[in-house]
């Protein structure tokens, strides 16, 4: 008699309830962390290196205590900052045939802006009471300017945007060969438009 009966099935009805409890716990405790930010490399601590910089190769951005942004001796709106920075880096002031002539630059080749993207230096000065968000916004605009130019060159040379090369490079699923190729490409583009951002000591006045 006993052998004829199939074994009693375990009731799995409460399984859903248990899983729901766990689910709700994780839903509540989750903060899907999306830490992202602007990476910067600070100069090292030796103040020995003093280089002569020509005035035309230096693009000075200052932010004062009341968060006004000054670039190239005039107070400007943050919206046109990116355009100005691009125009400055991409100017390519050397004339054709000169050593260091920038053949990929598409700027206006003005006499008072940078000679060559390699020589272009951006300086960001702040004061003690400058707001941090404004500073971040300025950093963002400068980095955006570089990214725009790098994207343009990357599209021209490799037919892929700089950002996608960059994100592919940090993707762990690619093979070593691809990685090497991507690294090479990144280095080529970075050499065309090297990021040179100076941050002089805060001036107290």
């Amino acid at each position: 008699m006993k052998n004829h009966r199939s074994p009693q099935e375990v009731n799995a009805g409460s399984m859903a309830d248990i899983a729901f409890l766990l689910l709700i716990f994780f839903l509540v405790t989750t903060s899907i962390e999306n830490d992202a930010g602007l990476n910067r490399l600070m100069p090292s601590n030796d103040n020995e290196a003093i280089v002569d910089i020509r005035e035309r190769n230096l693009f000075e951005i200052s932010i004062n205590n009341s968060d006004q942004i000054m670039a190239e001796e005039e107070i400007i709106n943050s919206k046109i900052l990116r355009k100005k920075v691009i125009a400055f880096i991409d100017n390519g002031g050397y004339t054709l045939g000169m050593d260091g002539y920038c053949d990929y630059c598409k700027g206006d080749r003005l006499l008072d802006l940078s000679e060559n993207p390699d020589k272009a230096i951006i300086s960001i000065k702040t004061q003690r009471n400058t707001s941090y968000p404004v500073y971040v916004a300025v950093q963002n605009e400068v980095i955006a300017a570089y990214n725009t130019l790098r994207n343009r060159e990357s599209l021209r040379l490799f037919n892929t945007p700089y950002e996608s090369i960059y994100s592919d490079y940090y993707n762990e699923e690619i093979s070593e060969d691809q990685k090497g190729q991507l690294k090479e490409r990144l280095e080529i583009i970075r050499a065309l438009y090297p990021q040179k951002i100076l941050e002089p000591e805060t001036v107290n006045n």
């Binding site: 009805g13 992202a36 490399l41 100069p43 919206k79 707001s131 963002n140 000591e201 805060t202």
Partner: protein, 160 residues
């Protein structure tokens, strides 16, 4: 037709099977378990980050040293006043101590990550540049040069 109706009415509808419900819930559960990052720091400062568009992801947690800057939160304020504060390792520290604490955090990292350690500066939107500059100088003193201004994604003009 009549026969069909008769058939239907004679037998009630079978109940919808809920046997696969646990599976669905488990899939959801595993999704949340994998994306969850439990906060390991109790925030003592207000921390609304500014926004930026040109951000890069900080996905590898093992090489990040976090520094929070902001005004103390309502709970922490009782005995501390309203000055800007720096938080590391669950407590308030002064600017001079930043280097020590950063080196301490660095020394607890595995050897191969020490050269790629990044300091993530999580500063509130109410922070002034003075304290940030001091902080950066301290970090330069201990040769931690890779920094990250941690932000939310969003148009940078929202900051102004």
């Amino acid at each position: 037709m009549i026969k069909f109706n008769k058939y239907r009415s004679s037998k009630s509808l079978p109940p919808v099977s809920t046997a696969s419900l646990p599976d669905i819930v488990f899939i959801l559960l595993f999704f949340f378990m994998t994306v969850t990052v439990m906060k390991n720091q109790n925030l003592l400062v207000e921390n609304t980050l500014p926004t930026a568009t040109e951000t890069e992801k900080l996905d590898k947690k093992d090489r990040i040293i976090e520094i929070y800057v902001g005004r103390p939160t309502a709970e922490a304020k009782t005995n501390l006043g309203d000055e800007l504060r720096i938080q590391m390792d669950n407590k308030f520290i002064t600017v001079d101590e930043v280097g020590d604490y950063a080196l301490q955090a660095l020394s607890s990292m595995p050897e191969h990550l020490k050269s790629v350690a990044t300091v993530s500066i999580k500063a509130d939107i109410g922070v002034k540049m003075g304290i940030i500059e001091d902080l950066k100088n301290e970090l330069r003193m201990v040769n931690l040069l890779k920094i990250n201004y941690t932000t939310y994604e969003g148009a940078a003009v929202d900051n102004l």
